[in-house]
Symmetry: C2
Subunit: 707 residues, 2 copies
């Protein structure tokens, strides 16, 4: 039910829609913008109660459906319309899919397409021609046109304007060398590309050496007349490896041989069947949305459901700076189709060599399904850490026993390369019923031309280059279904109690006591950044108890350094109202499937999907189907060590789902990886294992323990 559409299904939907004359669909990749074309086709999820009828009551699976975004550019009033097409694999109907409150999707809020970029490149070519001399002199020989190995390229900034309905983008030019993202040359230009006729596009502003100009002509004239101070970048040095991955410098210890590798001496301990995965008690289905990426469904441990859905919703990076491009940059990545911005994962770097690599298919800004080879990987790894261990001393130089279990985990991973930076999206499944969801950031920083004032907004990382401060925030939907749909939510804090010492009445005891607060409404369960966050946040089933009488529950433990990025309600902040809350809890609604959309980047001021709407009605959340919404992230003040790329250590944030009286004991007791050592009658250690004595020729043959 949750499997992404196959190439065949995607093609069937495309062919079906192209066969409807009224839609007047043409090729997405044809050069005109004044056309009706398909932007995206992907699986449309079944409604939850229908899916559960199939999963839990053995009823028929709901029909497979597709969600389709069509851009109607060839209309008097151009618009974006979403359709549900069904049934698959042989579609017969299409119905309009509306958003909450039947809000229309502004045409200007659509994601940018390859064709639009083609025209942007075109106008940039014309502009660069006019400013050829300036650019050539500034860069010491780089140009936009006819340039062989001294070319310029560009990065475009979003949002594309200052309010709804605008489509005008700041664009900055960069040297087109490996790692061009951090090669700004100090030339930024504001292009209005709202018109569907690219001939009518125009330059609204130019920024060069901290000065603004109303046109390229004005800049060129003032440049020639000496009214503008000229920038002259240092001679370009092809041997300067600054933005490149090529190794340089030396290290005292060998790094020219391979480091440790993972092997599976006795084969895989997990099963992958298409999009269904089983591992050590766990089972789940996954899919990858073209817009926002990885989703896990029907997550169960030993057959018992823990979550109906855990899925990535949005990733943003909001910047500060001293150039117009830097001030304007507020990237909202679902609008860049971050789910389909995934490319082949490198074996041994992106995922271990032993990983299972899986191809994905997306239909986004294309005319046929595109295969993304090895874009997802699944692997088991050891964390090189015990899951549990105890050395039981007898305090007489000997021991009663040693017990331990290796902490092996299953990892489900995709990446998104959203232009300059790369996110690594992980779901980690532990043998003890814990799930970790995390994101690691790497790739190139978004850097702008250095100015002295820029030091308020970042650090100089190279000649003329400022690394701009920004905040990464990531939003997740966590539809926990703890032993059923009816769940409640409480926070647990500690309060000091002070009472007479019962065994020494002239003394007092001060100790901490659990202070549980059932949060009964959506508002009371929406925690703001900057306010105290509860010690524990606990989701439980008020109707189900474990063996010891405790309500079966899971808690969410955040691992994050996130804060708000803009004052509440300030312009673009309205588009990311989810980012107000490290955690919010809502009643589940099929109509509140996601907290963001592909259109938020294009219109964050008045977004078609607004998370705040979900909690505004402040519904009762006692004994209901609850959804937790989690924001994690971190402040990134770039520093020299972000060159050439941001590195992952310390740049991982996420959250744990941890059982809290859900089971009767740690479910990892089922693991046969356990090893117990006891002292035999002869004083020698007796090792008890449930796995083969011999591991395999690739792994050490040293004895397990000596004692």
């Amino acid at each position: 039910m949750y499997a992404d559409l196959t190439a065949r299904e995607l093609k069937a939907v495309r062919d079906y829609l192209h066969s409807i004359p009224e839609l007047e669909l043409t090729e997405a990749r044809s050069k005109t913008l004044m056309k009706n074309s398909i932007l995206l086709i992907e699986l449309h999820l079944p409604r939850k109660h229908e899916a559960l009828r199939a999963l839990d009551r053995g009823q028929a699976k709901p029909q497979r459906q597709a969600r389709v975004i069509i851009q109607f550019g060839n209309k008097t009033e151009p618009n974006i319309t979403e359709y549900i097409v069904s049934p698959l694999p042989s579609p017969k109907t299409h119905t309009i899919k509306t958003f909450k409150g039947a809000r229309p999707i502004r045409f200007e809020s659509r994601p940018i397409s390859a064709v639009e970029y083609y025209h942007i490149n075109d106008i940039l070519g014309k502009i660069a021609n006019k400013a050829h001399k300036l650019l050539f002199e500034t860069t010491g020989g780089f140009s936009f046109n006819n340039c062989s190995n001294r070319c310029l390229t560009f990065s475009d900034i979003a949002p594309r304007g200052l309010g709804p309905g605008e489509r005008r983008s700041w664009i900055m030019l960069q040297k087109f060398v490996e790692g061009y993202f951090i090669q700004p040359i100090g030339f930024e230009i504001l292009i209005n590309h709202q018109d569907l006729d690219p001939e009518k596009w125009n330059v609204e502003k130019v920024w060069y050496n901290s000065m603004f100009f109303d046109s390229v002509e004005e800049l060129v004239e003032k440049y020639e007349s000496g009214d503008v101070e000229k920038i002259k970048l240092p001679e370009h040095d092809d041997n300067d490896l600054y933005s490149s991955y090529i190794p340089r410098g030396h290290s005292n210890t060998a790094t020219n041989i391979h480091g440790p590798k993972l092997v599976e001496p006795q084969g895989k301990r997990y099963h992958v069947d298409r999009n269904f995965v089983e591992y050590a008690g766990w089972s789940f289905a996954y899919r990858v949305r073209s817009s926002a990426g990885l989703q896990v469904f029907d997550l169960r441990f030993n057959g018992e459901r823990i979550a109906y859905e855990i899925s990535l919703q949005e990733a943003i990076a909001f910047y500060s700076g001293d150039t117009p491009a830097a001030m304007q940059t507020k990237y909202i990545d679902a609008g860049w189709a971050m789910g389909s911005s995934s490319y082949e994962l490198a074996s041994g770097i992106d995922c271990p060599e032993i990983a299972t690599f899986v191809d994905l298919y997306h239909y986004y800004d294309t005319d046929k399904p595109v295969r993304y080879k090895n874009a997802l990987c699944i692997f088991e790894m050891t964390t090189a850490m015990p899951l549990r261990r105890h050395f039981d001393s007898n305090f007489k130089g000997g021991y009663n026993f040693f017990g331990g279990v290796d902490n092996a985990v299953l990892v489900l991973r995709t990446t998104s390369t959203v232009y300059n930076y790369d996110y690594i999206w992980d779901f980690v499944f532990y043998q003890n019923g814990v799930v970790e969801v995390k994101v690691s950031a790497t790739g190139y920083i978004h850097a702008t031309f250095f100015t002295a004032n820029g030091l308020h907004y970042g650090a100089k990382v190279y000649n003329h280059v400022l690394g701009n401060l920004h905040t990464h925030l990531i939003h997740y939907k966590v539809d926990l279904d703890i032993a059923g749909r009816e769940n409640s939510f409480e926070t647990i804090d500690l309060k000091y109690v002070n009472f007479t010492n019962p065994w020494s009445p002239k003394n007092f005891i001060v100790q901490s006591k659990l202070h549980r607060t059932e949060q009964k409404t959506e508002r009371s369960a929406a925690f703001r950044f900057g306010k105290k966050f509860p010690r524990y946040v606990h989701f439980y089933n008020p109707n189900e108890k474990n063996k010891w009488g405790h309500q079966k529950g899971y808690r969410i433990q955040l691992n994050s350094h996130a804060h708000s990025v803009l004052p509440r309600g300030w312009r673009e902040e309205n588009g990311i109202s989810w980012s107000r809350y490290p955690l919010a809890v809502t009643r589940h609604k099929d109509s509140e499937a996601t907290s963001s959309s592909m259109y938020t980047q294009g219109d964050p001021w008045d977004p078609v999907v607004s998370f705040e709407d979900y909690i505004r009605n402040n519904e009762d959340i006692v004994n209901q189907d609850l959804v937790a919404w989690v924001t994690v992230g971190f402040l990134h003040v770039p520093h020299s060590e972000d060159i050439p790329n941001t590195a992952t250590p310390g740049n991982t944030v996420g959250f744990f789902l941890r059982p809290f009286n859900f089971f009767d004991e740690d479910p990892s007791v089922a693991s046969r990886s356990t090893v117990i050592v006891r002292q035999g009658k002869d004083g020698k250690p007796k090792v008890q294992r449930w796995t083969p004595e011999v591991i395999g020729h690739c792994v050490s043959d040293k004895p397990f323990m000596h004692f």
Copy 2:
């Protein structure tokens, strides 16, 4: 200079001191408490400026010295005295080592010894004889004496009293089966064992079934007369694996074969020479104090010092509960010699099979040096994650390049099994100049007898067993020396600025700006729990700049869920005044070497070492030798999944040391593990490597990438 004393050195110190007639030393293990004996011998660190003269100016190394703790029990006024014995390996002198303010060490604050336990066991035997019938009936057949496979054992609680100078311990009885820590039987007893003549020890209180009694006799009498409600535990079931590591239950996927293992197909990439380690630019020395454990010294990257010392100071667990043992439990683990509470590390569980295992020697509560076989391990591992990666799309279905580096790290690890629970102490060295210091908690919870009121303080985890809430706090000393000893410290926060949009003057821009605050005194750099913590905390050398003009610096990034455990100044809280501050910064002083001592557990009310003293004089910290003191930890509300043991996932806290404009670029550019892929003229990928093409027969022979 930092190597722990060798067995030969330890023995020489012991022999030297035993040869001094005035000390009247006798064997530590002889049964009397009324004797003078050595409690501990360990390395006494050289003073920092002397060590640096040797390290940085090539002068002679300072003489090796020993620190010795002697318990003078055979004196009119029994006392504890510390000595410095030198020079090693042939000692000639011993001088008294005093604490700050020449504070004496209370005799009652000494750690408990094996001999004292021997006598406690003795008196418990006598007590248990008196209560034999009650214990036997309560437990359904368990007894303390003559018991074969139905024995009782005990856990003793600390601190041992309510104020300075006391030595009376709550002790709880437990079934002596595997995992006896979580087998309380509901019998707790307060024994005064202050007198050096065990014959004079006595029972002060007894707790049984939520009632207090002044003597065992009183309890037994009331038990027999029916004035006490009898506890009757369920029949003991030897097949109930509750507290055991033995696997049970089943899992759908195979766990009876070995999971992924680490191999080193081309050998080790690090060097270990005694206590000196080199890896990928890093070098450092380590040692393991018997009291508090792992320390790293002279940490350098590419020869440049980053920290003079990073070391574990203390670990505490403060509990709450409804029984006197639970209310009283405030474990302060240096007082339990957590540094020497380390046992053999299990290959494949505690450390990977490929690890280098190292023996340690301790001289603690012994009469000869004791070898701790394989008590420390060092290994390289892959995190199965890129250190850096970028996929550089050409946005036309192809790519410009892919670059990536595997995130291999070196791990330095010891463990401490402090009675019931096990800490895993890690230092992780990343190739990009980042160090991660962390602790993971596992082992048995400290559990007490269940009462209904106990649910305010934890969860029921078994018949009659309460898992008591507690907080783990860990303290670290981080003597950063960023490019020299003279460092300064600043916090970096963000503030919104609001100004007219320079390219659209009718609009405003709101964005975040760096707000740096140099913290000039110790008080201003001591951040309290419960107060806002700065976004970045930055240590830098005001006199040294990187290539781009930024002061060379490192920042500390905490990964912790810690809070205070008691109101400031409340009784035992005085012993852990370091725990008030997630971060405090002080001027370095040789006399402020540690933030705690082995005596804090014995006298937390008026501790001989008090961290608060270090900041009370509020010294200037600008351009000085600074030391950062870091507290991390987490609240642990036990739950059913802590049975049989707390598992590590989600129970790891620590901090990162991250370069912040220390280098000119990411120093991992020196790593030859880099792989770059570019599209060849034929469209096929061209893979550029600096490591052998073939990894080894144990690792996959699949192609690196397909594209």
